[in-house]
């Protein structure tokens, strides 16, 4: 995307986030909006990995879960201040994902999918089993998020927090994509060998974006546990990882705003269609298959293309 286009997109996103509260009627609507912003932030990070670097992770919910559990345990059990817990959780996930990155990202395609999936499932089994620390399948409670005596409380404050974080993430992701790192990622997506021949240390860049997306998921997880007041192992499980990938794919691979759109739509949709709750898994599956077959570049890119084609006519 050109620089002008990017800033226009960023301005539109800022405007939407800023004006949305005028249209949010109640606490329930705020809750959906906050969750959508959290999901969108994770998806922007995951999209760097899937959409730009062409790798896949079927275990990202585990990183989200680890961040949330780190915060929940450190603040609740050991009385740490929330911000310190968040930083330590993010750093821990960063270390873990960095250690995993080289052996995992050496794998390609099916094997990479399987390895990330396996890591995610192992982590969620550990969270489920070590109940002396994690509360087991009942989950873990967490208190408010407060920094230096100031406590984040109420829908508006949390909305501002989640919206601000999303905006900052989109801005940072845009900068990264337009930087040499972004070009390296796109090059290795096209052809890993080609990128290596051009002098790009592909292993390093893949590891970098993997760690970045994992840490981002962990940070959002840390905030989420304070916002929601609790976390369960299911939030770190395989199905959540698949949901995240679906959001990215549905909105549009290799499009930051697509990832945001995908996350927002797929967070809001189940809330609106509560009558179809029993059909949720089925609909999610149909969306994944349908998107990949009929609009492999995702909703946003496809719709934008149609609009452009319509204008030209």
């Amino acid at each position: 995307m050109s620089n002008g286009g990017r800033y226009r997109g960023l301005a539109v996103l800022a405007l939407v986030i800023g004006l949305l509260p005028l249209g949010l009627p109640n606490a329930y609507a705020y809750d959906i909006a906050i969750n959508a912003a959290f999901n969108a932030t994770v998806c922007v990070g995951l999209n760097l990995l899937i959409g730009y670097a062409g790798q896949i992770s079927l275990g990202h919910a585990a990183f989200f879960g680890l961040g949330a559990y780190a915060s929940g345990i450190l603040t609740g059990r050991y009385g740490w201040p929330p911000l310190a817990a968040l930083v330590v959780g993010a750093a821990g996930v960063g270390l873990l994902s960095w250690a995993l990155a080289r052996p995992v990202l050496r794998l390609k395609g099916h094997f990479l999918a399987m390895a990330t999936l396996g890591i995610g499932i192992i982590i969620s089994i550990v969270l489920n089993t070590e109940s002396w620390l994690t509360g087991g399948s009942d989950g873990l409670m967490a208190g408010d998020f407060s920094v230096a005596g100031w406590t984040l409380r109420g829908d508006r404050a949390w909305y501002a927090m989640a919206g601000g974080l999303l905006l900052a993430t989109v801005w940072a992701a845009g900068n990264l994509i337009d930087s040499p790192v972004g070009r390296a990622l796109r090059a290795l997506h096209r052809s890993e060998v080609g990128a290596e021949v051009a002098g790009i240390d592909t292993a390093r860049y893949k590891a970098l974006v993997f760690v970045l997306s994992a840490v981002l998921a962990a940070i959002v997880g840390s905030l989420f546990v304070h916002y929601a007041g609790m976390i369960t192992p299911a939030r770190a499980g395989f199905m959540k990882s698949i949901e995240l990938v679906t959001m990215v794919v549905f909105g549009g691979l290799a499009s930051t705003f697509g990832a945001v759109a995908g996350a927002v739509i797929l967070t809001v949709l189940p809330q609106v269609l509560t009558a179809f709750e029993d059909y949720e898994t089925m609909i999610l599956g149909a969306i994944m298959v349908g998107t990949m077959i009929f609009m492999p570049r995702g909703l946003l890119v496809t719709v934008a293309g149609l609009v452009r084609a319509g204008r030209r006519r």
């Binding site: 395609g109 094997f111 390895a115 396996g118 089994i125 089993t129 698949i242 059909y279 990949m292 077959i293």
Partner: protein
């Protein structure tokens, strides 16, 4: 001491036989089309659940089982026709997402049709266990192993002795060349999905009297089948069978000797170890990559 070991071995080999059949399903589809079918586990579930339903309608097992297998094979062929074929030349990541989507879709349909509860089938020939070396061996375990052996022998015959089997092998070797000698490769894709669905359904049905089944049973079974296929060397049939037995036995042993809550993690620890240290699996040939 010995008796509990033998007991774990029995249960490991029994469940391992199911993983082997699922692993073979992965192998057949992978060979025919280079697609990893993450919906393989759903075939196991559909075979089992359809049998439960048909038996519930009052059909005898001998009728319910072939009907349920036929339903599953139809589902398998439909998956190939409506989800895989339209995206035939898509990237690996796209195909992974498609087959995961198919798996969610089938599971969602099963949840709507059959609810989320567990279902059981009566054992095929009583439930009085045999005593072997102090351990109890369920007659149903023999059904599982017998079925697996018959199916595997049948597959060997199909691929080694029949024209259709050889056509699938030829396509696996070289798609273009197979097309040139007059093999309909799209038919091969459909057939491989049908065959994989058949293997899954057969395994799922004979296993249900022991383990029960539910709409959500497919995920883990499928992933473990994939572990079996990768452990044996992706694309290698014998390897998939060996891999299935190893995963099954390892799982039963870790449940028995280590911790039953970490039993489910065993297969994933194995697959990570294989992927990190033994990427070609036990029997796979070292791959080279064309640029």
């Amino acid at each position: 001491m010995l008796s509990s070991f033998v007991q774990y071995l029995f249960s490991g080999v029994t469940i391992g036989a199911i993983y082997a059949l699922a692993g073979l399903g992965f192998t057949i589809i992978y060979n025919a089309s280079h697609v990893i079918n993450f919906a393989q586990g759903e075939f196991i579930m559909i075979g089992a659940m359809a049998t439960v339903s048909l038996v519930g309608l009052g059909l005898p097992l001998v009728l319910a089982i072939p009907l349920a297998i036929a339903v599953t094979v139809l589902v398998g062929v439909a998956v190939a026709r409506f989800a895989i074929m339209p995206a035939r030349d898509a990237s690996v990541v796209t195909l992974i997402i498609i087959t995961i989507g198919v798996s969610l879709f089938l599971r969602g349909v099963a949840q709507v049709l059959w609810g989320k509860g567990y279902h059981a089938l009566p054992p095929f020939s009583g439930d009085v266990p045999f005593q072997v070396l102090g351990a109890a061996l369920l007659p149903q375990s023999l059904w599982v192993l017998g079925t697996a052996l018959v199916v595997i022998a049948g597959l060997g015959w199909f691929f080694g002795r029949t024209l259709y089997g050889k056509a699938i092998l030829a396509t696996a070797c070289n798609r273009l060349a197979a097309q040139l000698v007059g093999i309909r490769v799209s038919g091969v894709l459909l057939a491989s999905f049908g065959l994989a669905a058949f293997l899954g359904a057969a395994g799922g049905i004979v296993m249900t009297p022991i383990t029960f089944t539910s709409a959500d049973a497919g995920i883990m079974l499928g992933l473990k089948g994939f572990t079996a296929a990768v452990l044996g060397g992706l694309g290698n049939g014998t390897g998939a069978i060996l891999g299935g037995l190893i995963v099954g036995i390892a799982e039963a042993m870790s449940a028995g000797y280590l911790s039953s809550s970490y039993k489910e993690a065993t297969a994933f620890v194995i697959i990570l170890a294989v992927l990190f240290f033994l990427p070609n699996g036990l029997l796979g040939r070292a791959g080279t990559e064309r640029v």
